[in-house]
């Protein structure tokens, strides 16, 4: 898990049911709607993985494997890996690996490995075959890790097609940050003048409309030489 990765951070929000072995000072606030200031011994409460982990390591709580990693779901994943939708578990594989270490469950890791491998092939095929269709629905059924693989395949096959159709030469409007470019189009023309500063040459800013239709043709590279 990488410190700055936003998906890693969110994956670690996975709730785990913890059972307190001892009374705990001033931790009543962890439990929603609890009026006690202390957490009572024997209380059972859902805590995020990142908080459950150090508590369990110090043997202050016992932990239960989340429902989605118990047999029923695992069996489905084992028998029909390609039919399962990960819509409700976008970090199933990512946090699942952590959980398998956490609970010492080697089998879970193996299952996740196999499931990812089987789904990988399917995802790759989809990513290169689907073009111009709405991919948001397909992406929705994948975990974030799978989405990354899909996007790589999808983008590279789109790029290839674009090249084949000889559209790659076109200089295009920057669509990298969608909201930014759309914001540009609505901004004032004053703004456009500013943009030109970038080339260290100030535009005169005066909008002379004379000679407006002059089409300046310049010589091609080769004739110049």
């Amino acid at each position: 898990m990488s410190y700055f990765d936003i998906n890693d951070i969110l994956a670690e929000e996975q709730k785990i049911t913890c059972n307190f072995f001892y009374d705990a000072y001033n931790l009543g606030q962890l439990e929603e709607g609890s009026r006690d200031s202390d957490m009572k011994k024997g209380s059972s409460i859902d805590l995020p993985y990142w908080m459950a982990l150090p508590l369990a390591k110090s043997n202050f709580v016992s932990v239960i494997m989340p429902l989605s990693y118990q047999d029923e779901y695992k069996n489905k994943l084992n028998t029909e890996p390609n039919l399962i939708s990960m819509r409700n578990f976008p970090y199933y594989d990512k946090i699942g690996v952590q959980l398998s270490d956490f609970f010492g469950d080697r089998k879970l890791k193996l299952l996740l490995f196999k499931a990812f491998r089987d789904r990988f092939l399917d995802i790759y095929k989809k990513s290169v075959n689907l073009k111009e269709t709405d991919i948001s629905k397909i992406l929705g059924n994948m975990t974030y890790q799978e989405r990354e693989v899909f996007t790589y395949g999808y983008k590279s096959s789109l790029e290839y097609d674009k090249w084949r159709s000889r559209k790659g030469e076109k200089v295009e409007k920057n669509t990298n940050n969608l909201s930014i470019s759309s914001s540009l189009s609505s901004s004032s023309s004053n703004n456009n003048n500013n943009n030109n500063n970038n080339s260290n040459q100030n535009s005169s800013g005066s909008n002379k409309s004379s000679q407006s239709t002059t089409v300046k043709k310049r010589k091609r590279m080769f004739d110049d030489e």
Partner: protein, 191 residues
Amino acid sequence: MFTKKAIDLIIELRSTDSIPHYNDGSIKATIDEIIALYEDLIKTITEHKEQKKEPYYLTHAITFHNSINRDKRCILAYLNERLNRIKEFRWSSGQSLLPDLLKEKLSQNEIQFFSDYDKILTEYNSKVGLDLTVDPQPPKELYIEVRVIKELGEVVLNSGCTVNLNLNTTHFLKRSDITTLVKNGSLEHIL
């Protein structure tokens, strides 16, 4: 529950590929939470010096300590990811100035970061004698034909020549001179 606001920050970033409004409120709230957690933690440890190794207090310390770290990590990840996206914008747009609508979304420090980053890049580009943001892909033609889709008036180009970029006129110009204008949507490349 602790770290709620901090996680909201991260979710905000995940929901979009662009740069969302700088969430000053949640950042401040998270920092306040860190301070509160810290003070509570220190107070408990000092008040119960003798018993601080008992599970009753140690559980408290572990939970609070980890929550503080978690809050910190979320804020740092939030800021770091935003900086990456700001750098990305500088590269993909080739612009030295922030468009107003993007500027509104950034914090003072981020605006400062952008202009510092721009300074480094521009200086490098001018020393190398090549604007690295212009042609990430090998260009095919030295000159391209463009149509003006936003009135710009008389413009002096990099290479020194002056053109009248009036609405709906077409021009045959040096590619490297005008790529930035095409990227920001003032001109359109005609194939």
